[in-house]
Chain length 205, copies 2
Amino acid sequence: MSVPPPSATEQPRAEARRQQILCAAAQCFREHGFHGASIAQISKTAGMSAGHIYHYFENKEAIIAAIVAQDLEDLLTLTAELRSASNVRAAMIERVAEGVLDQLDPLRAGLKLEIVAEAARNPRVAEIVRDADIACRRGLTDTIRDIRRAAGHADDEAAIASMVEVLATLFEGLLLRSIRNPGIDHAQVIRRIQAAVNDLLDQGS
Amino acid sequence: MSVPPPSATEQPRAEARRQQILCAAAQCFREHGFHGASIAQISKTAGMSAGHIYHYFENKEAIIAAIVAQDLEDLLTLTAELRSASNVRAAMIERVAEGVLDQLDPLRAGLKLEIVAEAARNPRVAEIVRDADIACRRGLTDTIRDIRRAAGHADDEAAIASMVEVLATLFEGLLLRSIRNPGIDHAQVIRRIQAAVNDLLDQGS
DNA sequence: TGTTCTAGATTGAACGCTCATTCTATGTTA
DNA sequence: TAACATAGAATGAGCGTTCAATCTAGAACA
């Protein structure tokens, strides 16, 4: 046994450079898409030479994968937070408001759509996206099961799974709406989606 | 005034070639995305030389625009059909079933997502997408206004607009779900979305 | 403290390849 | 023959990636 190798926290410079690259890449991907953005553009945005990027990432696809993984982490923390609330149902309805606003931000929406479009054809990205979705659904399933039990419903797992699916559909659909209709009335849509989620939780199984 | 120029129907060969190219392009775009697919690939899939494609389309972006316009036409006819039903509400709920299935086909979903992702950064595509969305919303707005009036509700236009928005969100969200969770239980989701649409139409304004 | 050494950070040119697009030459048809 | 359909090579630009050469900061040593 020798001394442990220097970890990431012991190499703040390397980690900072990685983040610098990821930040620049996210911006370029937003503006030109995964395939439209070039390493040359990313390197210029990041303020370093093109060759240097390959000291931190094996290739362009590794950058894409890192961006995808980073984006999906937010989703996981959001669904996890939900479970820790005392009145879960009230917390969920309340959370809808900020969730809707998040999804309606067209800047984020563009990158998120790019990610799923890429997942439709790139198996490596698809795996990352689907793994994150499974974890996300698991959290929502537990949350909804609790809510339904507390209200006296006796659901089978398939019924709960389909509620989760519709809940996810409502949120993710907003990503498309923010692009297709930039003039959405946010406040009205928030209220109406809150009502829809409320109705969903009371549907017969 | 001279003789009218030969129309598309008078040049069936040219129109057939155009469709041949569009069909090949759609397949390539589905597999590799707008920027990942090359003219060489499209020409090989279409069974003609690369150079020949430029006799029918000015450039690659014109092919993309044509694909986008073609895809959005389906949407318009669907919302238009809805209005012609006798019992509009029942027709809408019934249509949800096939609409959901359509949106859950991952083959179509990939191209539709690619289109919206492209719209997020390409102004020309954005314009086509938004114009189609406006027309689509106009149709749905009329339909929902009729349904609500028949049920005795007195809504302002903003209330109806937000209902249309949530309805669109529900459908378009399915595109993302079909990619993120390929194992969806279609039948259950159809029933639950039908119920959600039903509830939506009864929400207070 | 001043000097040398060294390993990692960084650059920028070069590589082979593919891209979208153009051009010229040859078929084909009427 | 006139007009159009088609092929395929050519063009120059840009791609992702590699690599040899330089710079730089700090350790080791005097």
